[in-house]
Symmetry: C2
Subunit: 379 residues, 2 copies
């Protein structure tokens, strides 16, 4: 085999950073992007602009690709099955990916394999939400459309039957879940290859603000060894049982009573793994690429005692480049990762990482840089 | 200022890896490449194919670039002066770069600022080479064309007047140098920005085989602190006195009698600095980009006690990708960097790096991977 062509569907920052990680391996990278201005399209040589919802576009794109992988979960499952039936390696395959596309399918499967989840069931209408609440500890209840949500979109926390009307308007099945009394959110990230090798990253703490990931701390501070192992084993089980290929992020709740419950699954590089670019021997992006090509996986271990990643959200100041001067001069070890996206308030436009021996100091440095880049502080 | 456009002249592996390092900074990267198949052209979105020896091509390329920098030293100095006169920031500028382009100019300038060099002078013809030999310890004498050489090309070690005829055939001025009785070769690499900030990487040992860099050990083992400091100060002096902007590699001889002499200068990322991609907080590529944009420089310190880089040369086996399976499975910490070049015997097609605590072990792992990828060993 000569150097393979990796076909990436989706032109967001995950594709951009996967391309970056693939360059050293000498891979050829082909991108299917919505527009020529997408984050990844700005930095990739071989870009096809087209609609991932169109099967013929996907078919034409797949010509000449040795494997197809994804920046997002939005490609229709039936299209992936069609590509696979035509002999195109799709990784993760549709039988795995559907669990990251459809929260109803995901919950049913996790129940079947004995993976602990919040109490949940599909609900028919607002009256059914009231019944679901009554079956447990009452309101509030979390409602999610089974498809199409991300970063807090497609998720509602409701207190009454009236508030429960909104999620049903899209005509998509709605999943009800108990509102978990959690201490914090964790993520257990693993990478699995087709022949079954798997590696496990340290369990991280993920701090959300307004439903959007804000800060990730690797490893999760003060996490009992037992819970850490349980979370890692759980992620490995999910990866194996669901036949995941590539990076799997398992978002978890750590409950007040010391349990671990699965919140969400993502089968691609994930925000909770960005810290690995600078903080681990092998990044999630490099290992995702290695996995989809069925190459042996790289060492997932951390390179420093602590690594903190902070997302850079768009603020009121459009020119983040101007902030580089201060941030780089203040902290010569700071790692900046920008996505080439226009700044819009609240939009994820980049992230920073800082690593070191002292968690409080590392965290302060990452926080400062993210805030300064956003423009919420000016010194 | 919005995110700047960095114009890179030359499509080789240094441009490829500089692009890779620029992606996280959100920079726009524009490439002037000889062909669409060049190493960097395979991975860059915005590629202009053209001849860097043509001033109009350079002028057209420079439109829309905020700064111009280089993958190699071969752009005619007068073209760079023309671009600069037209207001285009050229970094390093022609007044600095000429010292990396013309070995005669370089030697004269280093003499003038008191930097120790091998005994040398421009020689007129073979008879003059005999006189040069007689002025010192006799033959052998090293002859170099003042322009156009690299990786052992344009360099001859001669023992007689007859052997000295060849270098004069090109009609380029010839520089004669004593053949230094060196213990080993070192490199002192620094990065300097237009406003004068400079950072210094640890001095490395560079092991050449057949005139081509084979292995780099960072830091140089058993180098006395005094010599290390002397080498670093020397490199900083050269960078400042010559007005270098960007990465400066100072290739050095460590002589048997304990002196440091300058062999060559390169004003761009350099093979002796490839170890920094995985072994330093900030790579030479990232710092080169930061310097040419006059951004504050990143921390140059090593992340591990030892980092070893071994070049991967083309061998008899054209399919290096097949070797990934064994290399990655044997060493999950191995870092492979391939350049997307066709394999030709002796051609630099990639490099590997390994870092760790035990130099002998780290060196064996790098050696094994480079040899296995080349095909000179099969287990």
């Amino acid at each position: 085999m000569t150097f393979p062509v990796v076909g990436m569907v989706g032109g967001g920052q995950l594709a951009r950073m996967t391309h970056e990680a693939g360059i050293p391996l000498g891979l050829k990278f082909k991108l299917l992007s919505d527009t020529p201005q997408d984050s990844a399209a700005q930095v990739v040589a071989d870009v096809v602009v087209g609609d991932y919802r169109d099967l013929d576009t996907l078919r034409a794109f797949a010509q000449g690709c040795d494997v197809i992988t994804f920046d997002h979960e939005h490609v229709p499952t039936e299209h992936l099955r069609a590509l696979e039936a035509e002999g195109i390696p799709v990784r993760p395959g549709p039988d795995a990916l559907v669990h990251a596309q459809d929260k109803g399918v995901m919950r049913a499967r996790l129940d079947a394999i004995g993976v602990p989840c919040p109490r949940h069931r599909i609900v028919a209408d607002p009256a059914d939400v009231v019944r679901f609440a009554a079956e447990g500890d009452g309101f509030p209840v979390v409602l999610k459309t089974v498809r199409g949500g991300y970063d807090g979109k497609g998720v509602w926390v409701v207190e009454t039957a009236e508030e429960a009307a909104e999620p049903f308007r899209a005509g998509v099945p709605v999943l009800a879940e108990e509102k978990v009394d959690f201490v914090r959110e964790l993520a257990a990230n693993v990478v699995r290859s087709p022949h079954g090798q798997a590696v496990t990253y340290p369990v991280v703490e993920s701090i959300q603000v307004g439903g959007v990931c804000d800060t990730v701390i690797a490893p999760a501070p003060d996490l009992p060894e037992e819970l850490s192992l349980q979370a890692q084993e759980l992620a490995l089980t999910v990866a194996e049982e669901l036949g995941v290929v590539g990076h799997l992020a398992v978002e978890l709740f750590q409950t007040r009573d010391g349990r671990i419950l699965v919140n969400e699954l993502a089968m691609r590089p994930h925000n909770s793994g960005h810290w690995t670019q600078d903080g681990a021997v092998t990044s999630q992006f490099a290992n995702h690429v290695r996995a989809v090509l069925d190459l042996p996986l790289g060492d997932p271990r951390p390179r420093a005692p602590w690594t903190v990643m902070a997302n850079v959200l768009g603020g009121d100041y459009p020119d983040m480049y101007a902030a580089y001067l201060h941030c780089m001069a203040r902290d010569p070890q700071l790692k900046i990762h920008m996505y080439g996206k226009d700044v819009k308030p609240g939009r994820k436009v980049g992230h920073v990482t800082v690593y070191g021996d002292d968690l409080a100091e590392v965290r302060e440095r990452a926080r400062h840089a993210a805030d300064y880049l956003r423009g919420t502080i000016t010194e």
